[in-house]
Symmetry: C2
Subunit: 193 residues, 2 copies
Amino acid sequence: MSYGDVMNARVRSEERRAEIVGAALEVIAERGYRGASLAAVAERVGLTQQGLLHYFPTKDALLVAVLQERDRWDAVPDTRWRVDLLASLVEYNAMRPAIIQTFSALLGESVTEGHPARSYFTQRYAQVRATMTEVLRAEYGDRLPNGLTPEHTAPLLVAVMDGLQYQWLLDPESVDMPGAFRDFLRLLGEPVE
Amino acid sequence: MSYGDVMNARVRSEERRAEIVGAALEVIAERGYRGASLAAVAERVGLTQQGLLHYFPTKDALLVAVLQERDRWDAVPDTRWRVDLLASLVEYNAMRPAIIQTFSALLGESVTEGHPARSYFTQRYAQVRATMTEVLRAEYGDRLPNGLTPEHTAPLLVAVMDGLQYQWLLDPESVDMPGAFRDFLRLLGEPVE
DNA sequence: AACAAAACCTACCGCTCTACAGGTAACGCG
DNA sequence: CGCGTTACCTGTAGAGCGGTAGGTTTTGTT
């Protein structure tokens, strides 16, 4: 029992932290990271700002937790991915506008000087490009049907996903994000029906 | 002389405003709009924050001027554009990282709730997509060599430009923005077998 | 029951931000 | 020269920010 209670305490604490991270995701989606105040996040989980600082000692620490959380469920695709799975991912994303908005806002902010998420995004994009290259090579070899190499195609693939997200967030009625992405995949040579 | 002096005063005032807008572009590039303080912009042109407010009564008014300025030199391409001119535009952009950074940061922020630039970007993107559609139709007719319609291609074109900008801003060494964009244009112009 | 640690609070500090109020000096015009 | 306008300034209000200090309640262990 004693051991079990220890575990319960730990689990509760972890749950609280997860709650806070979830609230932070929402607030960042609404106001960006710089615009997101600790007090606003705290209020959403029924804490004071100082109560929140008990779990995350600084605002940057909370951001780190948010980015780690992203890496948890939005894991970087590994080599066993196939290109057509990306279409499903985009379709899934179209159902989670809040999450997409969070990370689109963070990406936009991160290009400014000294932003705490900058190195995260730099590294993540390098990694995603590298993995995408591998995925493409595994599927098509050293040349895609359209003549491009996997190395040259990967940045385009990532760019289309991100760029479409911004257009879609700004005007979801006018932009069919999953449809447009499937169009792009068709350009790459993948038969999509 | 009297008339000339009136003009000189007006011109001086306009020049001052342009100076301020230029400084605002820089500061927004460095810190985003929310992170950009009027005091920082003012200091860059040798004014106090209150002196700046003499020219732009609110921070939002300054942002409006920044966005109008963008529309001045970065005019929306008209129908007489040709697709290959876009490659030159991207190449030109690669030489102005500060400007690209300004508007990439603004675009990222604008997807958050109640951002003062949101409607600007929504409208501008709708307009750019429409014009791009026309440009593509003028060049290729109702079907591109790869089988897509101009309507379906325009959002992809815009997405690639924006998406590449973020990757390039985060890691200019690793991303050849103009080269990647030319690759994409080649994708559009050559039939996919 | 005793105690330690975790969870959360109140109070507060120092800073920054936009914006308003009101003053002053220079300029250009009649 | 006198006067209004433009172009600034100082001062300050008023709010919000992240973070610290230190206390108190709750919880779990022994």
